[in-house]
C-alpha cells in the first residue's frame, strides 16, 4: 500500500489501468442497462418502472461508496500523511456527487409512478439529500485547499471524516423510521430479489463501479499533473 505512495509508481500503474477501467466499465454498464431496459422482465407489482432500479441502485451505492472512500482516504491522510491519499479523496468527490445526484433524480422519477409523489421528507430521501450537500461542501473546501497550506488540506480531510457519520444514517434510515422507501432487498450474502432482476443489477453495479474507479484515477492523474506543472514552473521562475 505504501509502495503506491510514490507518485511515479502510481502513475506507471494508473497509465494502463485508467483506460482499462473506462472501457470495461462502459461495456459492462452499457450492456447491463440495455439488458435492464429491453430484456429483463417487468415486475408484478411495480410493472415497467422497476427498470429504473438498474440505474438508481448502483448510483445510490456509488454515492455512499464515494463518501466512504473520501473518509478512508482522509483518515490515511491525517494519520499517515500518505501523499496520494488527499489527492484520492479530492478525486472521488465529483463522481460521488454526480452519482448521488443521479440517485436522487432517478429516485424521484421512480417515486412519481410508484408512490404518487416526486418527493417525501422521510429519513432515506432526506439523508441522501444531506449527502449531496456534504459533497458540495467537501468539493468547495478541497478546491480552496488545492495549492494551499497543509492546514487547509487537513480541514477538508477532517470534514471528509466527520461527514461519514451520514453513511450509516442513510443505510439504517429505512429501518429506524417509517418510510415510503422499501427496506434493503440485498444485504451481505443475502438477497430477497429474484435472479432475473439481481443479475443485471449486479452487472450494472460492477460496470458503474469500474467506471467510477476510472474517473477517480483520471482525476488523480489530472491533479498530480497540475501539481507537477506548478512546481516545475515555480522552479523555472526562481531561475
Amino acid at each position: 500500500m505504501h509502495g503506491l505512495a510514490n507518485p511515479a509508481r502510481f502513475l506507471r500503474i494508473a497509465r494502463w489501468l485508467t483506460p482499462l477501467l473506462f472501457v470495461a466499465g462502459l461495456v459492462l454498464a452499457g450492456g447491463a442497462l440495455a439488458w435492464g431496459l429491453w430484456f429483463a422482465p417487468a415486475e408484478g407489482l411495480q410493472g415497467e418502472t422497476v427498470r429504473i432500479l438498474y440505474i438508481h441502485v448502483p448510483a445510490a451505492w456509488l454515492g455512499m461508496g464515494g463518501w466512504s472512500a473520501i473518509a478512508v482516504a482522509s483518515f490515511v491522510e491525517l494519520v499517515w500523511r500518505h501523499p496520494l491519499a488527499g489527492i484520492a479523496a479530492r478525486a472521488a468527490a465529483v463522481p460521488g456527487a454526480v452519482f448521488t445526484a443521479l440517485c436522487l433524480v432517478t429516485g424521484s422519477l421512480w417515486g412519481r409512478p410508484a408512490w404518487g409523489t416526486w418527493w417525501v421528507w422521510d429519513g432515506r430521501l432526506t439523508s441522501m439529500l444531506v449527502l449531496l450537500f456534504l459533497y458540495f461542501g467537501y468539493i468547495a473546501l478541497a478546491q480552496a485547499a488545492a495549492g494551499g497550506s497543509t492546514g487547509q488540506s487537513r480541514v477538508a480531510a477532517v470534514f471528509g471524516l466527520v461527514g461519514a457519520v451520514n453513511i450509516p444514517i442513510i443505510h439504517f434510515s429505512v429501518l429506524w423510521w417509517n418510510s415510503l422507501h422499501q427496506p434493503p432487498s440485498i444485504t451481505m450474502g443475502k438477497s430477497a430479489m429474484a435472479a432475473d432482476f439481481l443479475v443485471p443489477l449486479l452487472v450494472a453495479a460492477l460496470g458503474f463501479s469500474l467506471l467510477f474507479g476510472g474517473v477517480v484515477l483520471a482525476r488523480m492523474r489530472a491533479i498530480l499533473a497540475d501539481i507537477q506543472t506548478e512546481a516545475r514552473l515555480r522552479r523555472k521562475a526562481l531561475g
Partner: protein, 46 residues
C-alpha cells in the same frame, strides 16, 4: 384514485439522465486529465 401514468416516460427519462450524466462526467474527467498531462509535458520544454 391514482391517475394512470405511462411508466415508460419515467423509465426513459431515468436512463437518459443516467447515461448522459455518467458519460459527461467520464468524458470531462478524461479530457481534463489529457489537458493537464499535456500542460505538464509542455512545462518540461526548456
Amino acid at each position: 384514485m391514482r391517475e394512470a401514468l405511462d411508466p415508460w416516460i419515467f423509465v426513459y427519462a431515468s436512463y437518459a439522465l443516467g447515461v448522459v450524466g455518467t458519460l459527461a462526467m467520464a468524458g470531462l474527467s478524461w479530457l481534463a486529465m489529457r489537458r493537464a498531462e499535456a500542460r505538464r509535458e509542455r512545462s518540461r520544454e526548456p
